[in-house]
């Protein structure tokens, strides 16, 4: 195909959008509806994943030392743990700090009750490391490994919390995959039907083109351009709407349910849409391309 013909077909694709206004609007509406649902689901899933990830980061392993372990040795143990790839961070709390935290938490309203322990730290020997992991699923492995380190007295971990979060992650994965597959199947079905109706209406046009000697590519190229444009617009419209809605929804939820502040943090719109925009655009253009390609080919045998 000559370059001039390529641009001619490209222009025809744009013109076809306008020539077949009803069909274009129906197709754009179909894709928009699917991408809109996809976008809502995507925003929910990405936020859930983020909340779970934050929760994972708050479930540490606590490491206590043998009686008489020197500060030097504790430091060495801390460095050894921090060097492990699965460990995200290590935070040291001395016995004095632990007692101070305890007093702040339980005796803040009755400081007199703690006064009796002024010279005698009841939590002596409770110097510890809080070990935070990159992935909560590794908790059992890392805990077992830390227990083997010389000088470590005991390791405490929250298996229930770790397992719950781990299972929740897997559940989100399955549900996401399931819903995305259903949405994709519905989109392809709807767009294929819409394009079929559009092409059937234009079957005569295709036949005329073929009778006067148009090559297949000359016939289907403008349809492909048209399909991809429909997909692009069909994705761009709901994305704009979703952007505004997402921002408003986050503000509304945080205002209305102030109890959630501190418990959950919603991802900023920029972060969500940095991932959602390319995904939705590729999805929209892809659906438009596939829908046009498959149905146009069916009607080319004239």
């Amino acid at each position: 195909m000559k370059i001039s013909s390529f641009f001619y077909c490209l222009r025809q694709g744009f013109k076809n959008l306008w020539r077949n206004k009803m069909f274009s609007v129906a197709s754009i509406a179909t894709i928009s509806a699917c991408i809109f649902l996809f976008g809502i689901f995507f925003s929910i899933v990405i936020n859930f994943t983020n909340i779970v990830k934050s929760a994972e980061e708050d479930v540490p392993i606590t490491v206590f030392f043998n009686e008489g372990t020197t500060t030097e040795r504790m430091k060495e143990i801390g460095e050894e743990i921090a060097a492990n790839d699965k460990v995200k961070s290590v935070q040291f709390t001395s016995a004095d700090e632990a007692w101070q935290d305890y007093q702040n938490t339980y005796f803040s309203e009755n400081p007199d009750l703690a006064a009796g322990f002024a010279q005698d730290n009841p939590l002596a020997g409770s110097d510890n490391y809080a070990v935070y992991l990159n992935n909560v699923e590794d908790q059992q492995d890392v805990a077992s490994w830390i227990e083997t380190i010389d000088g470590v007295r005991s390791v405490r971990q929250s298996e229930v919390a770790a397992n719950t979060l781990s299972n929740f992650n897997v559940l989100i994965g399955y549900v996401s995959a399931g819903i995305i597959l259903i949405l994709l199947a519905v989109s392809v079905f709807l767009i294929s039907n819409t394009v079929t109706i559009g092409i059937t209406v234009r079957k005569e046009e295709i036949a005329i083109m073929k009778f006067i000697g148009a090559k297949d590519i000359f016939v289907w190229f403008p349809f492909l351009v048209e399909g991809m444009l429909i997909g692009l617009i069909g994705a761009a419209l709901p994305l704009s709407l979703l952007y505004v809605l997402y921002k408003q929804a986050v503000i509304f939820i945080m205002d209305r349910f102030s109890i959630l502040t501190g418990l959950i943090t919603f991802l900023p719109a920029k972060t969500v849409f940095e991932a959602l925009i390319p995904t939705a655009l590729i999805l929209g253009i892809g659906i438009g391309f596939l829908g046009s390609f498959s149905t146009t080919r069916k009607h080319l045998k004239v």
Partner: protein, 228 residues
Amino acid sequence: MIHLENVSKSYSKDIEALHDVSLDIEPGEFVFVVGSSGSGKSTLVKLLMKEIEPTEGRIVVNKQDLGRLSRKRIPKYRRGIGVVYQDFRLLKDRNVYENIAFAERVIETPGRVIKKKVPASLAMVGLAQKYKAYPQELSGGEQQRVAIARAFINDPKLILADEPTGNLDPQTSWEIMQILQEANERGTTVLVVSHNQEIVNAMKKRVITLKKGVVISDEQEGMYINED
């Protein structure tokens, strides 16, 4: 120009549209194909356009054996044939100029050439002033002239006209036949499928008569044989 050798076409076991048809049409001839409904006239046009395949037999058009023509080469083959249909078959969403230019676009003619050829082609059929009009804004006769201008734009060696006057009044029908006659005088082979007894008899051309898929008559300066 056209060579049919024992050509048969069946759509199903019981329906044979053409049966053992053999005929030759020489370059520069003007031929009418006549016959009642169901005689096989349209099937003949479809076979010549390679829209359908014969069940048996061999078809050669413009030295090309259609049985050996690959799907990829069909567009190029069709560009050598100008087709005119009863229902005009114009692209309704494009104006007169664009309809004719499209036939040039598909063979990738440069834009500057198209700009020269289309007005000349429109002038030939007397529609130079209406190049901006859309098909639905034109009369039947004008639409058929646009279709003829489109059919002629690539200087085809063969014109296939399937009932070109079927939807037109007598005066317009004669005007259309006049355009086809002039093209034939310039050397183009013209094959017209027609029901119009008056025109067929008046023009005194070769007439091939089909009945139930069989050629029952083939005469130079022939007459319309009324089957009814």
